[in-house]
Every structure is written in structure tokens, then in C-alpha cells.
Symmetry: C2
Subunit: 233 residues, 2 copies
């Protein structure tokens, strides 16, 4: 992304942008028109500098161009909590930017010296004379990203709302099985990562998995699982 090009900022290449989730599906030929139309602004941040502050009312979506941003939450007593990392190409503030009046519940801080692109939400939505086709693509991408995040959150929540470790595991594994369309499937986590995802203790989870295996509910080997239907029992 540190290359020659336009977009109002010489450090942002179209080759980089067209691969981001926001601009995916546009060609390098289309980008100049689109970028010209949505008129992004650019800002550089030093390490540990605040990009967005809790309590602000933002109307622009941010995208990390280079460096890295951290989304952090500060509670009533001042305890800080890192929610997520935003790497080059990642968006931030996209949920708040489309909800005028909704105050930021998180802060965004540059974890390294970073370049950030800010795009006003209205520029993404309102129709201009020339670039409607590209706008459509932009909006599609935004909706798709939002929908994807929504599904991921809904799924995680549906597992976490279960009370016991066993139920959480079965909810997760059942979902993976249905997604794979088979009773045999691989999961993308090792035990520690799965425990973190389900917010339970690793050893307790491991224990529960083995109990279920001994009861004949399922079998597994590393990250490969096999759910047994009652007929197989």
C-alpha cells in the first residue's frame, strides 16, 4: 500500500483497495471514479494515538490502510479491554456510522503508526451522477459484511446462551456438522481455541468431550469429529 497512485493520497494503491472487503468486486479502472465520488479523507496516527473516542457520534466509516488499530472498551471503573484488532483492509466504526445519534461504546487506538481512510456514510449511500454502478457494489459489500458479522455473532451467541459446557459443545458441533452437510467434519480450532470461543475452561471442556465420547454420542481425533445419531447408538 506504500506505492504510487492517486485517490487523493499518494500512499494508497488501487491494487490494495480492490482486495479489501469494502471495495471487493470493483476493478482498478473503476476505482478512481468511485474514490473521487465518495471523497474519503486520510489521517495518520502515531502509535497509541486515539483514532476514535468512546462517546463520540461518528458518521464516517474507517478503514485501516497501514499499521494496526485496536478496538478497546473501557468500563465504568476504567478497566480496559481489547475487543478486536483491525489490520490493513479492515473496517471499523461501520455499525455506528450508519446510526446517527448512537454514541460510540468503544475507542479505537493506533497500535502502531497507522494510516486510516475515513469515508462519510452519506457519501456511500447517496447517489451521484456518474458512479451509481460502483455505489451499488459498495453498498452490496457493506450489507454483505454486516450480514456476515451478524450471522457469526448470532451463531456464537446461540452456543454461549447454553448453560452447561456439554450443551455449548453440542450446539457448536451440531452447527459445524450442519454447515459441513455431514456427520463427519473438521473444526477450525484446537482445544484451547475452542474453549476460548465457547468461553469455558479448556480442561473441563476436554473432560466433557471425552465423557460424551465414552457415552457414544460422538467420536473425534484431534480436530476431526463424528457425531452419532441415535440410530447408531
Amino acid at each position: 500500500m506504500i506505492a504510487m497512485s492517486a485517490a487523493g493520497n499518494s500512499q494508497v494503491s488501487y491494487a490494495f483497495l480492490k482486495k479489501t472487503s469494502l471495495f471487493r468486486g470493483t476493478t482498478e479502472a473503476e476505482l478512481p471514479t468511485l474514490i473521487g465520488c465518495i471523497a474519503p479523507s486520510y489521517r495518520e496516527f502515531a502509535k497509541n494515538e486515539m483514532i476514535l473516542r468512546q462517546g463520540e457520534d461518528i458518521t464516517a466509516v474507517g478503514m485501516v490502510i497501514s499499521g494496526r488499530a485496536q478496538i478497546i472498551e473501557e468500563d465504568f471503573w476504567g478497566n480496559r479491554n481489547i475487543i478486536a484488532d483491525a489490520w490493513p483492509g479492515d473496517l471499523f466504526g461501520e455499525s455506528y456510522a450508519f446510526l446517527p445519534g448512537e454514541l460510540l461504546r468503544v475507542s479505537v487506538v493506533a497500535a502502531e503508526p497507522s494510516l486510516v481512510m475515513m469515508i462519510d456514510a452519506r457519501h456511500m449511500l447517496e447517489i451521484c451522477s456518474s458512479a451509481c454502478r460502483f455505489h451499488t457494489r459498495l453498498v452490496q459489500n457493506l450489507l454483505a459484511e454486516s450480514a456476515k458479522k451478524n450471522l457469526a455473532l448470532t451463531r456464537k451467541l446461540s452456543h454461549m446462551s447454553k448453560r452447561t459446557t456439554r450443551e455449548k459443545l453440542l450446539s457448536y458441533l451440531s452447527g459445524q456438522s450442519l454447515a459441513a452437510g455431514s456427520d463427519v467434519f473438521e473444526i477450525p480450532f484446537n482445544r484451547q481455541q475452542l474453549a476460548d470461543y465457547l468461553c469455558v475452561d479448556r480442561s473441563a471442556m476436554s473432560n466433557e468431550l471425552c465423557k460424551m465420547r465414552d457415552e457414544g454420542l460422538l467420536s473425534f481425533e484431534r480436530s476431526s469429529f463424528h457425531l452419532k445419531s441415535e440410530i447408531e447408538l
Copy 2:
């Protein structure tokens, strides 16, 4: 909604539509053009009839016009779980419709005799000659709804990812306090509802609340809370 009007279906009134989250902000004068442009289809369902089936790949967003739909999830072993109710004006399938190739993980069933409006996702996004301004409003509403849901899910998840009941409570109460902009605030739940929201046992939660009150962390009376900063201790 059982009234005289157009929209390709005589049972759907513009007065009803303009109040829904999807069409909010449009006037009754604009609606005929917009509706004509997005070309929704209508289907009636008998009680207990399936509207959408788990495993389908949908490209249309649904809206309940009359009756009631239930979003249900069926796991690997066939256990059914009611995820949500969709009342007149509510959307369903909106996350999946914008993600081609993403197969439905839930089913939607009519809990009562229901009339449903189906709008193809492409019709909402693609630009037509006449109604661009209305399209923009539609897309704004969609993005806003998606963003709102996103924030609600993220918040709930941030509380539920805490391991103990005490941490869950503090996370929730801290968030409510920050949202209210005051250390004194009201919550929209009674004890049972709060316990359900945080997925914990009511009596254990009540216990924990009283312990924290005795420790001087906070005070409360019914649904009114007061968080104490360390200075006040």
C-alpha cells in the same frame, strides 16, 4: 394492514408499510413508485406451514405483513429451538439474503395464518431509472437495521463472554451506566428478565447483586441502580 390499497396485493396498506423498519422515512406518496420498482411477491401461509427451510439458499428478504412467523433452529439430533418471533412489520432472512451461497441455518414457520412479503435482494440494491431516491432510503434502512442488530449482539456477547455471574452483571450494568451517561440509571428488565438476558440463574444472580451491594460496589432498588466509583467507597 387488511385494507384497500395497491402494491400488487390488495391486503397491504401503505399506511402500514411506511411504519415498518424497512420503509420508514418514505411517504405514502412515494411508496407506490418504490413498491412497483422492487416488485415484491406475496404469499399466504397456513398455520404451521413452512415459510423457509433450513438448508435453502435464499436471495429474498421476507417481511411479515399479518400473522406471525417463528424462526426456529433444528440441531443435528432434531431438537427444535425457537430463536425469535417475527411480528407484522418484522423482517426475516435479511442476513442470508445478502449472502449468496450462505445456506439457511434456521427455518421459518407460520405460527398463525400469515401473509408474507418477499423482496428480492437485488431489487433493493440495483438502481432503476425512476426511484433512486427511494432506493437510497431503503438501503439506509437496511444498513441501519443490520447495524442496530449488530450492536445489540455485540453488547450481549461482551457480557456473556464473562465467566462469572458477577462479571456478567458488572459488564451489563457498566454498559447501561455509560449509555445513560450517569452512575444512576434504570434498566429495562426485572430480575427474571435480566437473568434470562445474561443466561444465568435468577436466584444466583439476585444473590450476587446483594453481595455486591453489601460490599459497597453498588446500590439498587428494583430496576434502579447506582454504581459506586472507588472514590465513594
